[in-house]
Amino acid sequence: MTALNRFISFCRNVFNRKQGDADLSEELREYERLLTDENIRAGMSETDARRSALISIGGVELVKENVRAVRSGAWIEGLMQDLRYGFRSLIRVPVFTTTAVIALALGIGASTAIFSVVNGVLLKPLPYREPERIVTLLHEGSHPVAPANFLDWRASSKSFVDMAAAELWSPNISGAGNAERVLGLHVTPNMIPMLGVAPILGHMFGPETGQVGRDREVVIGFDIWQRRFGGDSTIIGRTVLLNGNGFKIVGVMPRTFAFAPFWAVGAQLWAPIAFGDRALSRNGNSLRIFARLAPHATLEQAQLEINAVTSRLEILYPRTNRNVIVTPLMEQATRGMQRPLIVLLVAVCFLLVAACANVAHMMLARSSSRQREMAVRTALGASRGKLTRQLLCESLILSTTGGLLGLVIAIVGTRTLVALGSAAIPRVQDVHFDLRVLAVTSFISIATGVLFGLAPARNAIRTDLVSSLKDGGRSENGGSANMGFRHVLVASQFAIALTLLIGAGLMMRTLAAMHNINPGFSPRGVLSAIVSATGTAADTAGRREQFFTQTVNRIASLPGVRSVSAINHLPIAGDVWGQSVSIEGQAELAADKRNRATYRVVLPAYFKTMGIPLLKGRDITNADRVGSHLVVIVNARFAEHFWPNESAVGKRFMLGDIRTTVPEWMTVVGVSKNTVISGWTDAPDDEIYVPYLQSKDYLGTGGSHFAFLTFVIKTDGDATLIAPSLRATVTEINPSAPVSDVQSLDSVVEGATADRKFYLVLLSAFAIAALVLAGVGIYGVMSHAVARRMHEMGVRIALGASSSNVLRLVVGRGMLVVVSGAALGVAGALALTKLMDTLLYGVKATDPVTFGSVTAFLLVVALVACWIPARRATRIDPLTALRGD
């Protein structure tokens, strides 16, 4: 028998079934007639002959059935039949079907989305060559470094194959298109080659670009190449105006390249640094150092070596080389992310388990109620294999539907997480939907569905057919074992729900505590925007001052504006520059006393605009300019720090180290209230405010760091409404000066708590889902228990039990399950919240109030879920129950 022939008859059987059936019917009819004729010839009457013929055939339908069973392609027929039957029986119980599908979909979808995020952020390697060998060197692991130190470290380290430095540089692009301020980086020419990524167009910087005057080359990123230059392939060699200077584009980086992966995320172009005079500076800490470990060097060796180098330098140049830590780049990029993401991962695993448990016990419940159906079908001749196959089909329909819905949820969920989390999670732009993870979670959920779908078949085999048919399937032999297992499942669901709820509760309290933090300024109605003069006609000594002053005055005259000022960097959203100080009369500071303060440069009326009260003294005015007495305002902590028991007003200090710098004393004229500097929950730090009009750096020095100011504008009402007028005003004064980072202070403050909010939203979503699943679970179990014990309830009521007795009995059973689940949940929560401690603020990980109130809430919900079916038990008509129908 050739395979081809078999295939042909297979197709014929499947697609041309009707014809085959008709043929068989005709053949059997003829068989019957011939047999009848035989019988007539043997002497029977016509009716008897026919009857005898039919009896010997033994049932035409049965014969047809047997033939169908052996035809090739029979299994497809069987499968189609099973699928259709499965569909019908699932549709007959819509509540069960919908709940099971949703539970599966939730479990699969949520887990996959979270796994994708965790994979993209924590597990996926950075887009460089051998990224695990790249490290950062920073003071205390996070503070920038001075050029002279960098050069010394590079010269004397043997654990590193290469060392490179980067600093922020956000040039204004002008020329073709609008003036735009983009985030970029100045990097040493060896940086990108060290990372090991080659440009897709062009090449890297030439070797001489490290020198002043030869550094007008730039490498651009893929996105900006597409967006601003239209993906033009002839872009190499063309000139682009950055800060008014012509830079030659020498290379374009690939789409997957992103540098730096932390601190300057989203940098779009890279230009070489030429240190020039700065090479000798040990004070201007603006560089972040990246290095590649030598092939056989370990992190510990590198750390020891750099410790030795910096100790030597520290002796020569005190206070400049303290506490340098070598950190793997991956750790920097995911700093602060590991714990929270792991928490989320654990939470979503719990949810997956809860969902599987839900599906499992719903199917077990259903299996108990289908006992009668199984008994009838077995009695009618269905084989064990056939029953199993049909149940398997049914489970697979359920699981596949749940799986498909889960796929949709996973895709949508991943996109939502990326969008929501972009403020909170670094590298989130690298997150893509992960098929591998979907495969694993689908397998788990579907396996659960299939496994427990086979329970009825197992029951059917063990059951004594007769008793099943008699009782109407109400008493179950395998029932009590099932019931016990179901109780365990429901208890675990409650445990999971409680754990997640407590986690969410703690996050809520954290968020509340964080909202209660007073930033020290009043954000309502204040708009901020960065105005940059770099590269414009205003970017020369003397013209800058004029430009900014003019801008302030013009904005002040706009309708609705109550007050205008500017600062170099905005609190929270802006950069933080450190400046060392020397206090008059306190020349020798104790070794551990920090002499650095956050360096702010402000225009007059800053404090008024921001709503920061001046605790002592006065604000700076327009009279405080170059040539007049040098003044400064400090914050309360600075005053407290250096002049603990006296008024700071009138005291003097200078910027820089008194031993190496010519003293230029500034007099404190005012003390302001402490404000949040950068991190929302950080303790307050020293801060000084220098008048813009007295800052030589800002007024004159070249360099784009000093050519922009962050304007703050206090308006009546909604701050964002004046954004268009603001842009118009600036453009009027100077058309090539870009306005960027326009945002209301309210949104800046909101951004500070954005990451906690993100975790809260997610944990709450999981907690609610788990609670719903658990509630449905206990309701289902209770309903079923009541239905099962109808007979018993009837007897009790007939014998005189009151409603409350019955209620107590039923609810008591249920609550026992819930309480044991809750106890387990508390234990689980204690473990989970331990993981969460870096996320929490203002509340302990074992906070009894949260634990107590959440547990109480859960018990109430469970009580309601038990009570409803219990009430039905009290309404049982004893006669009906005793009759056992």
Partner: protein, 110 residues
């Protein structure tokens, strides 16, 4: 088939059908009657077993069917052996001999 023979192996039914069709083509009832005849009444094959076997063997390619006229002039399906069928008959007959021989030896052993 009588009670005692319901457990008859499907293979032996195939062998009987193949043997029956060696000389002539027949329709279903004819095959059944012939088997009854040549086994001297020992095997009475009911349609419930016959037709599945016929369809199976047809799909295997050992017999082929054609529509023809029955004795009464009505339409009936006739089956005949194919070349492959004849070969299969030989194969199965050999197999049967070997089995019966082996069984005999087993039963005679002490």
């Amino acid at each position: 088939m009588t009670q005692a023979q319901t457990n008859l192996l499907q293979g032996t039914l195939d062998l009987l059908i193949l043997k029956t069709l060696t000389l002539d083509k027949m329709h279903g009832l004819g095959i059944s009657r012939r088997i009854e005849q040549i086994t001297h009444g020992a095997f009475q094959v009911k349609p419930g077993s016959l037709f599945p076997a016929l369809y199976r063997m047809e799909e295997a390619g050992w017999i082929e069917s054609t529509w023809g006229a029955s004795e009464k002039g009505r339409r009936a399906k006739y089956y005949e052996l194919t070349k492959a069928g004849r070969k299969q008959l030989g194969v199965e007959a050999d197999q049967w001999s070997r089995i019966t021989l082996a069984m005999q030896l087993a039963l005679l052993a002490t």
